[in-house]
Amino acid sequence: MTPGIAARLHAVRGARSSGVIDERTRLRRITDDVARPLETWPGGAWWACFGVAFAALSLGVGCVTYEIATGIGTWGLNRTVGWAFDITNFVFWVGIGHAGTLISAILLLFRQRWRTSINRAAEAMTIFAVVCAAIFPLIHMGRPWLAFWVLPYPNSRGPLWVNFRSPLLWDVFAINTYLTISLVFWYVGMIPDFATLRDRTAAGARKAIYGLLSLGWNGSHRTWSRYETLCTLLAGLATPLVVSVHTIVSMDFATSILPGWHTTLFPPYFVAGAVYSGFGMVTTLLIVTRSVMHLEAYITDRHLDAMAKVMLLTGSMVGFSYGTEFFAAWYGGNLYEFATIFGRAVGPYAWAFWTMVACNAAAPQLLWSRRVRASVPVLFILSVLVNVGMWFERFVIIVTSLHRSYLPSSWVMYRPTLIEVGTLIGSFGLFFTCFLLFIQALPMIAIWEIKADAAIGSEGAHG
């Protein structure tokens, strides 16, 4: 080393500024805060929630086992109402998932930075919701061990292919693609965080698992650069996917000739409803999670406010769709359509219809008020009501359209059996059990994304 340079080097080292310490502790604190729940034994509140969720799941497992062992006759379905609780639950759960993709993909493309601390949890919610949804068509088959018949594989029956013109088959492809791409997106997003956890965990089984999951991630910027491109591409692919999934679900109904189903309004109406119910569920979950896991610093009132505004927007779109349905039924001049749509409001299932209107169209209008959006308890109640309302929406669409069709001699009432109610409760149990395990086992907040945002924030503050 030349003497001149050595002297200057010494001088620079001596004059080391201490300002950099803040930056390091800030980044380290983010890691500590997010990793804390993963490194400590869960608290009483978590165990209480888990106990309830697991009990519900057990009930569901019991009901489904009984149904598969005995047959679909254990449900309240009859020859007129062939779809009821199960398909209602299917559409409900698929819809819940949509908010996760919206938050993780669409808001990423729009560079909405508030999404950062909630996107991981929302993506997890998507995956669990889609799994819950997929169970219902499977158990409705009656013989779920033959479920692979829905796949177009070379078989010894010809091969006799599946009917590619059927919306039910489109559903198979849509749901499977949605689940696969959501899983890939979720996992890819967690790789850097697995590396962070790996490097702060002492040698042992946990470190080995994190090591395996982190795929040898070492923080290389050449990789980061490609990684950001990958995330943008996956987001770009997931965005049309999420719209297509609920569009296809709506086509299960819209491509039939049944009054109340046969309408071109369904795809946009279903997509808006899906996002609406999903945001309701995200809000419910995050209000509980942030207090149970003490993450108020990351999931702030600003997040709740933004989610409330999305609920207000999509809720109003759903309310507008209800109005449009009535207008089209009246203006279209089709007697059967008119009878079905107006029958919803005044017929035997009017109680379900008005529950739906009250929860979905009326209640969210309170969100225009800033005070309502700022009140966590009120927001919590509203978000639960949204989910109640959206479940009833699917119930109303499915059951009221079926129970009175063209032929008055086949008019019947549908009543769910306890097995069906138990299965619905069980699906909630599965969803919440998965979610509770997720927040305890995986980083529920994207550590690296929070750090990137914090850095951009400090850059702005510096000038």
Partner: protein, 176 residues
């Protein structure tokens, strides 16, 4: 064979970007930079090209599209035409939803796979870090050993002037 290099640790992303810019301005090649998050402005500072992953998406999506559409056409028209409600064998419009889903699926999976291959990420890959804490709160620059500048201490001085908190030699390849 492991090559010799130099690793400099930083505590904040701004100094890191400045240091990378300064080092490259002197004509010293940057081997790689390590950070706990994608640092804004590093792509430009390092002179990285835009990733070509998008072409993988496009190609895989196109393959998925053609494969899905032609398979449905083959199954319905040539292999076993099934009369469902009198609809034509080649009901192309009805094939659109599945074709769309397969296009997305193929593009998404292929892009993720291409990324893993290109970045050398796979289960069981070793991850020796360039400097402790680069997945938590530290940033690091790794330079290839270029004799005159390193021996004179010039490179070390530039790094220290830009706020490096630690500069030490490193065997490149060991951290991979």
């Amino acid at each position: 064979m492991a090559r010799q290099g130099l690793v400099a640790s930083f505590a904040d992303p701004e100094s890191l970007v400045e240091a990378v810019t300064a080092v490259r301005a002197r004509g010293i090649k940057v081997y790689d930079v390590y950070a706990p998050f994608p640092v804004h402005g590093l792509d430009e500072a390092m002179g990285l090209r835009r990733s070509r992953l998008g072409f993988v998406s496009l190609a895989a999506g196109a393959v998925g599209l053609v494969a899905a559409l032609s398979f449905q056409f083959y199954a319905n028209v040539f292999d076993w035409s099934l009369n469902v409600g009198g609809k034509p064998d080649n009901s192309t419009l009805a094939f659109v939803p599945i074709t769309f889903e397969i296009t997305i699926l193929a593009a998404g999976l292929a892009t993720a796979l291409a990324f893993f291959l290109r970045a050398g990420l796979f289960p069981g890959a070793s991850a020796a870090l360039a400097a402790p804490g680069v997945t938590n709160d530290r940033f690091a620059i790794v330079l290839r050993w270029t004799s005159p500048r390193f021996e004179s201490g010039e490179a070390q001085l530039i790094l220290h002037q830009r706020g490096a908190i630690d500069v030490r030699p490193l065997e490149i390849g060991a951290e991979r």
